[in-house]
Symmetry: none
Subunit: 196 residues, 4 copies
DNA sequence: CATGAATGAGTGTTCATTCAT
DNA sequence: AATGAATGAACACTCATTCAT
């Protein structure tokens, strides 16, 4: 039995525990490969309790997607200096993403694996395009000061984001170790690609 | 009812039909999200028939992985001219990959989604590392003639492959249309990244 | 719907209900001829519930085998007087076995039918040989006091046990009614066979 | 492909081959544990061919039961001398049954295992009671000349038949080796049981 | 006539979800 | 509010039977 401390904090803590458990399992085994009872067990709650916090497995995965997407965004943007030189801004972005992928591997893997999964709902998708729009805006500004090449911002996003994602993916699958040198070289390559 | 043509061609055709059905569904819903009966239905055969061609669901996904991996390799390598200038070679590679991803979207998505999945067997993994080795070899040659930057070949692979994969992924999820201009610009960006 | 009484008694009762249902069906149709859903239905529980109590069909049949084997042993040994004259002891054995076979026909048939079945596990087999050893020990004692014929104890077991089993089998298959006279006469015949 | 020699002999030979295959498999794995294709394979015929000889799996098992029941009867009765002394007749019976159980273990096991199985039809059951009646008649004759005890013939049958069956069963399950001494002693015990 | 590829109902088993406690 | 036993539909897979060849 559990104490019945129904303070908002305790409720939130349990919600987070469930999301944490789900994150670990979804990242490891995927959405369809993870059973709801196993999430409940990992979270240390009863299977029925989970349904007091999330209407269904799908609701849970969407809530998790939102939480993690916001988390990575916050992490990457944290400490971003709008007035710093673009090369420094780019380095900040790159190293923050890599740090996140290293420290919060489950989150990063989960987000990549569940990108545009059919069970994600509109709000999850909305956040995805919101992030993209934000990126496009920032890029346009840097293009305006003739630091980035004057191409479709989407091309720049594709190269940079595709490269970091691939870098981390190879790391997770054990394809190659994520050495500081590799991180550095990939960053430099990308910078060469996008800078004017 | 189905014709019972027992010619090797007919047998092969049915095997291919099952693989095609599996490809469409695995690409759309993933391995665990796809039921064997749904594959059989899509292929227009009985559920039991599938098991005459593949021992188990896992056997099927591995056979499919091998077929598609070989298919994409063949497609990309087709017409490759070892004596052409590196820039032309790169353009050949890029446009062949994009063409494959356009024409055989399911195959491309399936391969990306099932990269290093835990149900892939040794031969599937062997093929994966074989492809990687081939790429590393080619890259090393181009580096030797001082056309690519003298960095870890893995960094070059990461940027180029990460970029095409992201390019196609965005196309599939409807994030942005795959215009000729975007394809062209991304290719150019990548070339800038890797060339000395 | 079912009450959700989580008392140990209620849990045990459901476990027993499943074992009872399995007993009836295994006795009637055999192990391979009985489907798990049919057991669940007979027990009045859902198919999934059965798997909360028994890991697999094989686990269930072994648990049942142990329960019934111990039950018949207990029943036969109940009231056995080690100091009574051998003829009385034999009568006790005989009438207890026949009574068990009458009252618990399904149990008797199940045990005979599943004797040495390939899906029985080590503990089931251990119990079988334990029973045999007990019988051999008792027989040897009676032989020592020159009441049973000085032959291989196995010969005595074979005749006595073979006779009761056949007596009950004929009863079950409707071959002949199990009259008191027949029971009595068969007992006497067996006694004649084994006594010195 | 197979020669199309549709002589009655060839037809009969194929029928027998199927029955032989079924005997081996039913004896080993039981009725429900044996698949029809496995019988066809063992018999060296196509699965469809089997259905030209037997309407269904049930028809096959019944035909097999009749064949084997008649076979054991014939074997036991072969060489029986109606004018021989009863003890010699009994020895003949006993040794013929044991010999059959030794030489045709599959047949013996099949018959015992399928005694009164729910899928046996009326003609199989009719043969069973026919055999019992024959036995009862013979026994009555021997009782008339005051050689067997004047009890219900069923009691005599039960003890004798129950004993041989148990003797063979223990042999098959590896419970104890079927030594000549054990066979001899069991025979003697049974004779003691039934003789006046 | 003989075949074996094809079938789909049925198997043992799992799991998202509910609800009595 | 929290639980976890219970459920039954759905899963991967098998097999008795059919029928085009």
């Amino acid at each position: 039995m559990q104490a019945r401390a129904t303070t908002p904090e305790a409720v939130e803590a349990k919600r987070e525990a469930i999301l944490d458990a789900a994150l670990a399992l979804f990242a490891e085994r995927g959405y369809h490969g993870t059973s709801v009872p196993s999430i409940a067990k990992e979270a240390g709650v009863g299977a029925g309790t989970l349904y007091r916090y999330f209407e269904a497995k799908e609701t849970l995965v969407n809530a998790l997607f939102l939480r993690e997407k916001e988390r990575v965004l916050q992490h990457v943007m944290d400490g971003f200096d709008p007035s710093a030189p673009p090369r420094d801004q780019f380095h900040h972005f790159w190293s923050r993403v890599v740090a996140y992928g290293r420290e919060r591997a489950e989150s990063f893997r989960f987000l990549e694996h569940h990108h545009h999964a059919p069970y994600l709902d509109d709000s999850s998708r909305a956040l995805e395009s919101q992030v993209r729009d934000l990126a496009a805006t920032i890029i346009a500004q840097v293009q305006a000061v003739r630091v980035f090449k004057p191409v479709d911002p989407q091309a720049l996003i594709t190269v940079v984001w595709g490269s970091v994602v691939m870098l981390m993916k190879e790391h997770y699958t054990g394809g190659c170790p994520l050495t500081d040198q590799l991180v550095q070289q990939t960053e430099d390559l990308c910078w060469e690609a996008i800078r004017l």
